[in-house]
């Protein structure tokens, strides 16, 4: 595979034809495949040799409390396991966090929380975040750098796109708000390219 450039201290979004090839041998945050029936505390300790304040701080950062430490790793839900994996990477102070299909495990409220956290990790802790996703819609309002595989090993790189960037939207499923506003405008109405539902509502109210 051609070398993929990741922008440092930024939120990157990668859309790849065959992510498994890219992910092979990488330290990616995804569901753990452990079959060991051990407590979360021991699971984290095995991976980090850490049982101090850093552990509690990392759990807090990912919106978990210390009660989870006494539960068994195998009984956790998918979302809890992903949070634990993220906490482990934070304890290890990993410079680049690779997250594979991260959004799949969370509902809207959790995703809003994590969007804030990732922004904070970049700005305050100088981390580099890299999402590897097949659908990029949820990243469109916060990832800064996009690398899209157009054809096998042919990449398009886009930096700080707007929500309505045509080059990006040729390869990414249109967010519904973009789809709707584009459709309305094609039908002869004049509505600005909003990304916020409230703004769109006001615009419709003026236009109808």
């Amino acid at each position: 595979m051609e070398k993929i450039e990741i922008k440092k201290e930024a939120i990157n979004a990668l859309q790849l034809k065959d992510p498994q090839v890219f992910l092979k041998g990488m330290n990616v945050i995804t569901l753990p495949e452990t079959t060991e029936n051990i407590s979360v505390k021991n699971y984290i300790f095995k991976k980090t040799s850490c049982f101090d304040q850093r552990l509690l701080d990392s759990l807090k950062l990912v919106n978990l409390n210390e009660a989870i430490l006494n539960r068994k790793i195998l009984v956790l839900s998918s979302s809890e396991k992903i949070k634990i994996e993220l906490a482990i990477h934070l304890i290890q102070n990993t410079a680049v966090l690779y997250l594979y299909e991260f959004d799949r495990y969370f509902m809207e409220k959790d995703l809003l929380f994590f969007k804030k956290l990732f922004k904070k990790l970049v700005t305050k802790y100088h981390k580099t975040i890299c999402f590897i996703n097949c659908h990029l819609s949820f990243l469109l309002d916060f990832a800064q750098y996009y690398c899209l595989e157009k054809k096998k090993n042919q990449f398009i790189e886009i930096e700080n796109p707007t929500f309505y960037e045509k080059e990006l939207l040729n390869y990414v499923e249109l967010p519904k708000i973009v789809e709707f506003i584009n459709y309305i405008n094609e039908e002869g109405k004049k509505i600005n390219q909003y990304v916020d539902l409230k703004e769109l509502l006001k615009a419709i109210f003026r236009e109808v």
Partner: protein, 241 residues
Amino acid sequence: MKKLLEIQNLNLVKQKNTILNQLTLNFYKGVSVFICGTSASGKTSLLKAIAGVHKYTGHILKYGKVEVIVDLKNDQETIKAELDYDNLNETQKRIVHQFINPRILENKNEETNEETKILIVLCKAFLKEPDLLFVDQFFFKLSSKNLKKVFCYAKKKGITLAVVSNDIEQALNFSYMIVLDQGRVAIEGKTLQVLEQEKILKRLGIGLPFYVDLSIQLKLYGLIQKIYVTKEELRGALWKK
């Protein structure tokens, strides 16, 4: 409507943690179901209980052939071996070809991309001719083209789909919706009726599909009278042609 699956007072406890709590649900032929819920609400555990992977108390009564796909594990070396292709009859092979290009059948499983892996597990389930098929979260990783194929095939063959997902936009592809919270049913009903319960969903941290959300707000402003789920319908209602 023929009942395919009845779940009565299902309890699932893992290491003193209650995962499913007195869950009672029914699944009917032809009524596709979207199952979503808060984090750790028991979505995957429910599927695993139905699959018989988890021990539970209560009753799971099957009145039809029920298949459950909870992971993408493939044991065989090649796609062909995984599907036991050489032992399939011509009709079964045609089913496989609808989803998997015959040219890649000899490919090794470990070199297969995730989308193909999903299609393989779906094919394996389709070959068993289920009446009701449960699929866990990875279902919506399929491209829209393949999703369409799967929906069409299931409809044509009378397979009722019940899919677990956090992608709320996809709820509109299903006729019935179940929202789980802390191992219980928070809301269930016809999809649009559930989605109209905006306050409960938002309290649970579950968003709304864009057109439903927009319609609800526009309805509050008095600009439209009901909920629309497509851009064409909504445009038609706002700017009557």
